[in-house]
């Protein structure tokens, strides 16, 4: 009897050990897979960085994935100030500033409009306001090809074709839908009784907005600014359609540098230019990733 019992615990022990081994093996496999995926996502960035630091000679003779034998920053300098985007050879610098000049006012104005629109649509509803919201939201999803031609004609008629203010207008108009969505979904979570009580106390539309709603808005303001900045900085379609030599945003200039047909193909300069163009949005992502993700998910799922 005792014998049998002992045998039993022995069996249990073995089973437990087996289960533990299996668990460890599973965890090991899991971490291996996760790391392999991480390497896959990091590989292009790694390739870009090492390529940008190699000399052309080393690129031709060495391997895509090898570290540079000697670090050479000259292609960064070239990408920034002397690479050719066509006939001009001023590097990315002027276009970088075009993008800065374009995105700051466009982000500010579209965020401001979104805040006030969202406030109305969430807290001052009127008959038909939900339908208006749906119509605004639909504007976020249209393929922009469908507005390119009339927009080109309109910008021409307004005499701002090919200018930075013209491009700014385009970004503001097609950004309103998303910024309104963000603020509306944020303000809708604030009880409407608050507005009613404030109205009883004699506060008006704007007083309530500035005294009650704006002070609680910083999180959604950050989400909206990050979203809009990323959208506008990374835009290519509007940039390539509505700018001309001299007013192009950085994405268009980058594409021109990479596809410039004159001279030797300088992969290291291309990669340095690509990193420069990506740096601002990458920086925002690294510094404020939480808000970036919140914007992404809010843009696709109703809050």
């Amino acid at each position: 009897m005792t014998d049998l019992h002992m045998n039993d615990t022995h069996m249990d022990d073995r089973a437990n050990r087996n289960r533990l081994m299996k668990r460890i093996a599973l965890r090991f496999g899991l971490y291996t897979l996760l790391i392999l995926f991480a390497l896959y996502y990091l590989m292009p960035l790694f390739v870009m960085v090492v390529t940008s630091l190699k000399s052309l000679d080393e690129i031709r003779t060495g391997s895509l994935l090898s570290l540079p034998r000697e670090i050479d920053f000259s292609s960064w300098g070239k990408a920034w100030s002397s690479a050719c985007t066509g006939i001009q050879c001023e590097g990315l610098r002027p276009y970088f500033w075009n993008s800065v000049l374009l995105s700051i006012p466009a982000v500010a104005i579209s965020t401001l409009l979104g805040a006030i629109n969202g406030y109305v649509l969430a807290q001052w509803r009127f008959k038909g306001s939900n339908i208006l919201f749906a119509l605004m939201l639909f504007g976020c999803f249209i393929p922009f090809q469908v507005v390119l031609l009339p927009m080109a004609l309109t910008l021409g008629a307004l005499k701002i074709a090919g200018s930075i203010p013209g491009l700014m207008l385009v970004h503001i108009v097609y950004g309103i839908g998303f910024t309104t969505l963000f603020f509306r979904n944020f303000y809708v979570t604030i009880p409407t009784e608050l507005v009613k009580a404030a109205k009883v106390d004699g506060a008006g539309f704007f007083r309530i907005f500035f005294a009650i709603f704006l002070p609680v808005s910083p999180p959604i303001i950050v989400v909206t600014i990050i979203w809009q900045f990323t959208q506008i900085w990374n835009d290519f379609l509007f940039g390539v359609s509505f700018s001309q030599a001299g007013t192009q945003p950085i994405t268009v200039a980058l594409n021109n540098i990479v596809n410039a047909t004159t001279g030797v193909k300088e992969y290291n300069v291309d990669m340095a230019a690509a990193i420069i163009a990506a740096l601002p949005t990458l920086l925002v992502y690294v510094v404020a990733g939480k808000y970036f993700i919140r914007g992404l998910t809010a843009g696709s799922v109703k809050g």
């Binding site: 899991l30 971490y31 996760l34 995926f37 991480a38 896959y40 996502y41 590989m43 292009p44 870009m48 390529t51 690129i59 391997s63 895509l64 409009l113 629109n117 109305v120 009127f126 208006l132 605004m136 639909f138 504007g139 999803f141 249209i142 393929p143 922009f144 090809q145 469908v146 507005v147 390119l148 031609l149 009339p150 097609y174 309103i176 704007f206 900085w233 990374n234 835009d235 290519f236 379609l237 359609s241 994405t251 980058l254 594409n255 990479v258 992969y267 990669m271 690509a274 990506a278 949005t281 990458l282 925002v284 992502y285 970036f292 993700i293 992404l296 998910t297 843009g299 696709s300 799922v301």
Partner: protein
């Protein structure tokens, strides 16, 4: 007067944005749709001539390539991004100690412009100095990877780069969904001795149907709008073998000077998007009775 103003302030505040949306979204869509029924070429004409632009479009081999590519790219892009995103989310949901950094790594491509992504992958996939040479150095002397310049296969390189860029985003969506699944049900299932894979297959994944829908909407929308990625990666080539409707429309509008074809192709794109988005928006925005 002040009373009237007080009462209508919300509408007045909303008005400028609404006017802008009505003109720049709906007015412009209307203009494009109208022009697609005219004989416009270099300049817009406004005499309606029926559906000749659409007939021309249907007869155009280049448009056929663009539509076929959209189907290939759309299906593979949505499929791979969803599967990879889901697998990553499930793996990250297993109490992984380094979840934060890993998530950051999986998602960073979303912060990049498609032009940057295209530039990077164009270099990685280029035959000769790219990934091909890596494999040759490893001893696979005859390894060849020339999809980028092969008219039959170039569209798949767009899939590769697109999935790389967007799968992390799908992961973020699914991870948020996994975190909101009711823990009680899972604990009860575990007590009943149901295995973890079974729990995922029959409880957790089915409960995430709304997330599958959202990610499908976002990804299909990205696929139809894909323009910059193709331009940066293949430029639509070799020839026009990687044209998508978005690049076709752009070529007609700005390099071929054929407004009629540009307007009709844009209208077709608009109809595809509408068919996907309108039912979705309708189901999302209709008042809930619960």
């Amino acid at each position: 007067m002040t009373d009237w103003l007080e009462k209508h302030v919300p509408k007045l505040v909303l008005a400028p944005s609404l006017v802008a949306i009505f003109v720049f979204v709906y007015g412009f869509i209307g203009w494009t749709a109208y022009v697609s029924f005219t004989k416009s070429r270099l300049l817009p004409k406004y005499d309606l001539v029926g559906t000749i632009q659409y007939e021309k479009l249907a007869a155009s081999p280049r448009w056929e390539v663009a539509l076929t590519n959209l189907a290939i790219f759309g299906i593979l892009f949505i499929l791979f991004a969803t599967v990879i995103g889901l697998i990553l989310a499930i793996m990250l949901d297993q109490k992984i100690r380094t979840e934060g950094p890993l998530r950051t790594i999986y998602l960073y491509p979303m912060a990049l412009s498609f032009i940057v992504t295209g530039t990077a992958w164009k270099w990685i996939l280029n035959p000769g100095l790219g990934i091909e040479s890596v494999f040759r150095d490893l001893g696979f002397e005859n390894f060849s990877f020339d999809w980028l310049v092969n008219p039959d296969l170039a569209i798949y390189t767009v899939v590769i780069a697109g999935v790389w860029q967007s799968s992390g985003f799908v992961m973020a969506l699914f991870l948020a969904g996994l975190r909101s699944v009711d823990g009680e049900i899972i604990r009860a299932a575990m007590v009943d001795g149901i295995s973890t894979p079974r729990i995922y297959m029959s409880i957790i994944i089915p409960s995430m149907a709304p997330i599958f829908l959202s990610s499908f909407i976002v990804l299909s929308h990205l696929a139809i709008k894909s323009f910059d990625l193709v331009i940066a990666l293949t430029g639509g080539g070799p020839g026009y073998s990687t044209d998508l409707p978005a690049t076709f429309m752009y070529a007609m509008a700005f390099s071929r000077g054929d407004i009629g074809q540009a307007a009709s192709s844009a209208t077709v794109m608009m109809m595809i998007v509408t068919a996907i988005i309108v039912p979705y928006l309708y189901s999302e925005l209709r008042p809930r009775h619960d």
